[in-house]
Amino acid sequence: MLDTAPAVRRRPGRSAPSGRARPRRTRRGPRYGPYLLIAPTVVVIAVLMFWPMVQIAVMSFQKIGNRQLRGEPAENVGTANFETILGDPLFWQSLRQTVLFAAVAVTATLVLGTLVGLLLNRLGRRMSRFVAGGVMVAWATPPVTAAIIFSWLFGTTGGLVNWLLDLLPDALVGGGWSDYNWFAAPLPTYTVLTVCVVWQSCPFVAVSVLAGLKSLPGELYEAARVDGAGPWRAFWQITFPLLKPIFMVLVVMSVIWDFKVFTQLFIMAGMANRDAFNLSLYAYSEAFGSLNPKLGMGSAIALVLTAILLVVTAVYVRVMVRQGETA
């Protein structure tokens, strides 16, 4: 762990390393030193992240199309964009698919990731390192590549999954898999997407859980074993309560990542496949997807997405502050 030097880390009342060579009793350094150091970052984040957030909010009440892109001023339309969205069945379908996908993917990621983390903790040192290295490969794969690989695995001609399903007895999985198209309807598309996303996000959960497990005192488990508790009880009575902060953070981060998944779905389904939209793809397609771009509409959808995630973020920030992460 890196946080091994809390005593060194925060000593209130001491001044900066950027003071003069003399013992630094003056307040010169601290007064503007740290502000100078964070200034570039604050500027970058303010201009490229906070200001655009404000712009999304403003633009969601405007009409911004081809004429505005050519330089005409944006036209205020009040709440028209939101009325259009809320009346659009595609919005509700996208929202439903976003939420369902996040629910399934987050659950699967956490359960599988935790199991892998527990396994890594039980393995011998070299084996554990070997398996962790393999798991990292899934994590490191770029999303574009991951989506393309899974499109290939689930492909119609030469796809490995269809070939395997065809080999299995028909009584079990049914027949005619060899030219089954996984990307023709939303449900199979989302099945492939879930497999792909879970494969990529499990490693982060596994490795975080492993790091947490390593910090737990072994005596607790000894005591539990002496008391006759099995692994199931030991997990729920010792591991889970102690690692609850980690699990909280992992749940929140997974929800956020899976809620706004874009690249993989974009590659697998594309913008023509409107039935398979989630909120990110719906917003993007409204804004850029046609020859008649509607950036105001796109912003309104993005604002809804952001508002939902803001609630989740608030929980996250609260957990982190409670844990003293911002101290």
Binding site: P52, M127, V131, G134
Partner: protein, 282 residues
């Protein structure tokens, strides 16, 4: 517990470990394997795990043109330039800010830290619309510079978060000693702090590198001309245009993926330490 049940249990655990390893690695291996297979094997009705007659024809097609109008090395150069630029600038900004956060107590320090947390949760997919308009107004669409600025903003918050632990772990006394020996603040920073946080800098750099190297939506939205495309955009473009040419597609995917995986494995343990630092307080 007898020695025998212990042995069985160990074998079971190791078996499960190997299974996890196989599942994690298999898709990537399948990609590499397909990239080396001749077309007859790729579309064979009985797929085999490894190419029987390995060939470089797909890599040849990808690297020596034929998949797009622009030579492959142009995409590689664009991606590399963006990734290196992101690493250099975001590391510098992060080092300054991490020093401020780890070494000073100042007003708005907590506010700043909370801002970093919030910013990491912002759905950047949503920001693509306003940033598109902003860059269009500045005439910076379709340019690597415009994209670079955006990537820096995405990489910096996490880099600071990760780096602050490394800076905090450097004993304050070393800096004090340097100061007593007459070193000025800049010298102390360069000669004492920098070498000691270098491992942390490497780890955060890899992360920034991957952020830029893998990024898709912004590059896809902002870049118009093929000679500005980055590797992921080239790959998506190629995939969209010739969806069934799996050999060359997998060869291109391999070229995009292998550098990232290599970097990742290189620093994995440090990175994990950085990611999870402080998640559980001892």
């Amino acid at each position: 517990m007898s020695a025998r049940t212990k042995g069985v249990r160990k074998a079971l655990l190791n078996g499960a470990g190997l299974l996890v390893f196989a599942v994690a690695v298999f898709p990537v291996l399948w990609m590499v394997s397909t990239a080396f297979k001749p077309n007859t094997e790729i579309f064979s009705t009985t797929p085999r795990p490894l190419p029987a007659h390995p060939t470089l024809q797909h890599f040849d097609l990808v690297v020596n043109g034929g998949i797009a109008e622009v030579p492959f090395w142009v995409y590689l150069r664009n991606s590399a330039l963006l990734a290196l630029g992101t690493v250099l600038v975001s590391s510098l900004l992060a080092l300054l800010a991490a020093t401020a956060v780890a070494r000073f107590r100042f007003r708005f320090r907590t506010t700043f830290l909370i801002m970093l947390l919030v910013v990491q949760m912002v759905p950047i997919e949503a920001l693509v619309i306003p940033l598109f308009l902003d860059l269009k107004r500045l005439d910076m669409l379709n340019s690597l510079a415009g994209l670079l600025v955006v990537y820096i903003a995405f990489a910096v918050p996490f880099a600071i978060w990760m780096l602050r632990g490394f800076v905090a772990a450097v004993p304050r006394e070393l800096e004090d000693a340097a100061a007593i020996d007459g070193a000025g603040p800049v010298r102390t920073f360069v000669a004492v702090l920098l070498p000691l946080v270098a491992p942390g800098l490497v780890a955060t750099s890899i992360f920034s590198f991957i952020t830029a190297w893998n990024e898709f939506i912004f590059a896809f939205t902002f870049l118009d001309d093929q000679d500005r495309y980055t590797l992921p955009i080239m790959l998506q473009f190629f995939f969209g245009r010739s969806g069934n040419a799996w050999g060359p597609i997998m060869a291109a995917s391999t070229l995009l993926t292998v550098p990232v995986i290599a970097f990742f494995l290189l620093v994995q343990r440090r990175m994990v330490a950085g990611l999870t630092a402080g998640a559980v307080k001892g």
